[in-house]
Symmetry: C2
Subunit: 220 residues, 2 copies
DNA sequence: ATATGATATGAGCAATAGCTCACTTTATGG
DNA sequence: CCATAAAGTGAGCTATTGCTCATATCATAT
């Protein structure tokens, strides 16, 4: 008598043959393209199936519901970001504070350069909006930033560290996020990273940073 | 033979009696409450009418379509913000640069303290998201900020003024916007304004600002 | 060949959306 | 009064949504 309700696995059926794996891929591609072009409004399962040139039945053989499609899209996007992030070299010991700050910013920039359009849509999409990875990513980042600040406490003039971490992370995330759609070239060239780095270092240490170019100019 | 298509006035019919004016008000109230509670997902015309305790027919007598409901809501919100902003005193001549910066920030803070929840939902709502006033508001603000920067060019160490304006406006807007839902008390108390002011002044002038409390502690 | 499971199809269902319109009720003014 | 206009009603139309399921096709192994 137990009513079956929202208790399905993430993927209804594991695709085992090459043919079906391809089908899943085509579906996800179509989903991403529709999301990017028309936003969540245009994102309907029927349209996705049509654009993927696959019957609606096939879609529902692998995805138990609309939300799971979004979920898988997000999962993959997260993975793409995380793997791209691993390229960040571990810090040499006792580097200039400015370099630490810059490294963190490049962290975020890199994340936003992985399929920026899809990134934007996913992060603003109603049912999942700012969910999962954005939360945990932000948390991990905040922890990391705070640790870095504490390690350099003597160089930092700001009183309230927690507040500083909050202000800094939101500010950077937002500037980068916006720049990903409004000033993509500045993002890619590193000009924006320079600027934001100077802002943070100035704010935190109370000293102006000499305007010097980054060691490596481009990030993506 | 001309097909009638999306060409209706903003308000289908002007309410002329007190009774109908009240009806319009009740509808808008319900709309706002539904938006705040359930987001755009829950925002359906039938539900709005139901919550307003008004027949769906009455709703459509004053609002030609769903979008116009959102539009009117936004229009009123804009007006509320703008009138609240006028309270900002005109600057004394040649005030300290920090004061100018602080005034601009308080500008934005004030805007976000007018019904913060509704503000958030409206700014993230799909069909209008970041439309109209957010665009023009940002433009006017950017122009104002740039003018202020130019007037103080000698005190500013940043090279690229346009880039600086971009970084500054996005950063402040985002920090304040996020704080409106995550750190409302810090926003109201002025602590956050202090912090952001210090960040900007440090960034722009290259000098650390002495940590002094604002003249008036609270904004809203 | 043939049996078996994996894969694919698409007509169509139940639910809900935005919205209309024929109609009733309430207010106003001569 | 009563005529006219304003205001209010809600059953229900049309379109679309997410999603199912009976059926058909393809792949593989014996």
């Amino acid at each position: 008598m137990a009513k079956r309700r929202k208790m399905q696995p993430i993927l209804r059926k594991r695709p085992e043959q090459d043919r079906s794996r391809a089908t899943v891929e085509v579906i996800l591609d179509a989903a991403a393209r529709i999301l990017v072009r028309g936003g969540y409004e245009a994102f309907t399962t029927n349209r996705v199936a049509e654009k993927a040139d696959v019957s609606i039945g096939s879609l529902y053989q692998y995805f138990p519901n609309k939300e799971s499609l979004l979920g898988e899209l997000m999962r993959r996007h997260t993975i793409a970001i995380e793997s791209g992030i691993e390229a960040v070299a571990p810090q040499a010991q006792d580097p200039p504070f400015a370099d630490v700050v810059r490294a963190a910013i490049e962290h975020i920039v890199r994340a936003h350069l992985v399929d920026p359009e899809l990134h934007r849509v996913l992060s603003e999409t109603p049912p999942l909006g700012k969910l999962d990875w954005e939360a945990t990513f932000a948390e991990r980042l905040a922890a990391r930033v705070k640790a870095a600040f504490e390690a350099r406490r003597s160089e930092i003039v700001v009183r309230d560290l927690d507040l500083a971490v909050y202000v800094v992370t939101r500010a950077v995330e937002a500037v980068v996020h916006n720049a990903a759609t409004e000033r993509l070239s500045d993002l890619k060239s590193g000009v924006l990273t320079d600027e934001v780095t100077r802002m943070l270092v100035g704010y935190l240490t109370g000293k102006a940073t000499p305007v010097k170019r980054a060691v490596r100019a481009a990030v993506g």
